[in-house]
């Protein structure tokens, strides 16, 4: 895993999901589909590299997102991205999971992420919509987008994050 390469790719992904992807989402789905591509990448890091890499990626990019789009409050995405990616790494790190197992895990984590974010906003009274509504309105459509992205990114992500067999002395976090 080449740290510099990974960092620049993730940064590009973060830029894409906040600038170009919103232009591609149809107007009828405004406020309903939320691309969390960097979070999916952090999960891949947890599954195929190690949990510490996932923690660092989740923390840095969660913080970037929190500060850049500081509206209601800080810290929601930092906490959730870092902790959920770390948790995924803790449970499944180094298990060499096949694709058909990785996708449900990622979908579950994305659901957990959106649901927990809703919970935090609900506690701080930022939103007052009922959970059933938010689930159908934004969490479910976003889940499809995230799973689709995870499917598309599976091969490159695994190649990027999985440590090389032969030269294991390659730089690792």
């Amino acid at each position: 895993m080449n740290t510099r390469w990974v960092a620049s790719l993730l940064l590009l992904l973060f830029m894409l999901e906040t600038t170009i992807v919103p232009w591609l989402i149809p107007s009828s789905m405004y406020g309903r589909i939320a691309p969390h591509f960097v979070f999916v990448a952090a999960l891949y890091a947890g599954l195929y590299a190690n949990r510490h890499a996932a923690l660092v990626i989740g923390f840095i990019f969660g913080l970037l997102q929190d500060i850049t789009f500081y509206g209601h409050m800080l810290g929601v995405h930092t906490l959730l991205m870092a902790s959920i990616a770390y948790l995924a790494g803790l449970l499944l790190e180094g298990k060499r999971i096949p694709m058909l197992a990785a996708l449900p895990v990622i979908a579950l984590c994305c659901f957990l992420y959106d649901a927990a974010a809703y919970g935090i906003y609900r506690i701080f009274r930022v939103t007052h919509e009922p959970f059933e509504f938010v689930l159908l309105h934004s969490i479910a459509p976003s889940l499809f987008l995230q799973t689709g992205f995870a499917l598309a990114a599976y091969v490159p992500a695994r190649r990027l994050f999985e440590p090389k067999e032969k030269k294991s002395a390659d730089e690792e976090e």
Partner: protein, 311 residues
């Protein structure tokens, strides 16, 4: 004693201890960062501005490309649109003559009534153009970033409009960029998000109501506290009244979709379809009120009541 030593045994597990500390720290950060903050700390300013500086290279070209495809798709409508625009321009030219005359007369009358300089400049809002540079990917925090900041004289709680109508309020101000909270985040229970809008209508100037909620399920703004005998009716164009102290006077909010008796039966509630679109924005205007430093916002807006402007 046994119970206490058990407790310590749990804390000897370092990971659990760290997790607990992290949760407490984050809960504190969230609590502190919620609500009004006029100045951000320098790490926030630095990170926010740097990221947005890079984001602007992506958002604008994407907008141009999307616009190009849109143009090709809607080429057939362009002829009709051109016709419509021509009639609009003709009407505009006619109205312009009328406007000039009325403005001159208005000036003369203000002089005759010995208006104070401050009263004259009350509605001289400055519209600062701003380009959108990025859009948040959190549906519950749908802010977007614009490329003007505190160095351009932008302050929190300034109104942001598009050519269609009121879009939102400036939420947090960084030195070169700021975040805008759309009015779809209006929430009467929350201390953060957009502020309630005191509103009236273009058709009935004596109407009054407060827009304090957004119904996501129906996609309409909820206007409360309308008096029973208020003339407001379906189809009216709702504008800001300037009485609340946050929004300037006369910004278009939307049109009344329906009106009914409110929750407590004493006042009425109207549902308002927002005039502005909140997605795929590329240019917006920040409404900067005049002589911000001279008068308190509360005083200025209290005087903005058209009923009190006489000497």
């Amino acid at each position: 004693m046994g119970r206490v030593s058990e407790l310590f045994k749990i804390f000897r597990n370092r990971k659990l201890f760290v997790l607990l500390i992290v949760l407490i720290v984050f809960a504190a950060i969230m609590g502190f960062s919620l609500g009004q903050r006029d100045n951000l700390t320098w790490p926030e300013q630095f990170v926010g501005d740097t990221v947005s500086f890079v984001q602007q290279w992506f958002y604008k070209p994407a907008g141009y490309l999307a616009g190009l495809f849109e143009d090709i798709r809607t080429m057939r409508d362009i002829y009709r649109e051109n016709e419509e625009l021509r009639t609009t321009v003709a009407r505009y030219a006619r109205d312009r003559v009328m406007y000039n005359r009325i403005e001159l007369e208005n000036e003369r009358l203000k002089e005759a009534l010995a208006f104070k300089e401050r009263q004259k400049r009350m509605f001289d809002y400055e519209y600062v153009i701003a380009h959108v540079v990025a859009v948040s990917n959190d549906p519950l925090n749908p802010t977007f970033k614009i490329n003007v900041g505190s160095t351009d004289g932008i302050r929190p709680d300034m109104a942001v409009v598009s050519t269609d109508g009121l879009v939102g309020l400036v939420s947090r101000v960084f030195p070169l960029y700021s975040t805008v909270m759309p009015i779809t985040q209006l929430n009467s229970e929350s201390s953060s998000g957009a502020r309630p809008i005191s509103a009236t209508t273009m058709e009935h100037r004596e109407s009054f109501g407060v827009i304090e909620d957004y119904d996501t399920q129906r996609g309409v703004l909820v206007m409360n506290r309308i008096a029973e005998d208020d003339p407001l009716s379906t189809g009216d164009v709702v504008i800001t009244s300037g009485l609340g102290g946050v929004y300037p006077y006369g910004l278009i909010v939307g049109t009344v979709e329906s009106r009914q008796v409110g929750d407590f039966g004493l006042t009425h509630t109207a549902y308002i379809k927002p005039a502005a679109h909140f997605d795929k924005l590329s240019e917006v205007f920040v409404v900067v009120p005049p002589d911000l430093e001279e008068a308190e916002p509360g005083d200025r807006e209290a005087e903005a009541d058209p009923g009190e402007t006489g000497p």
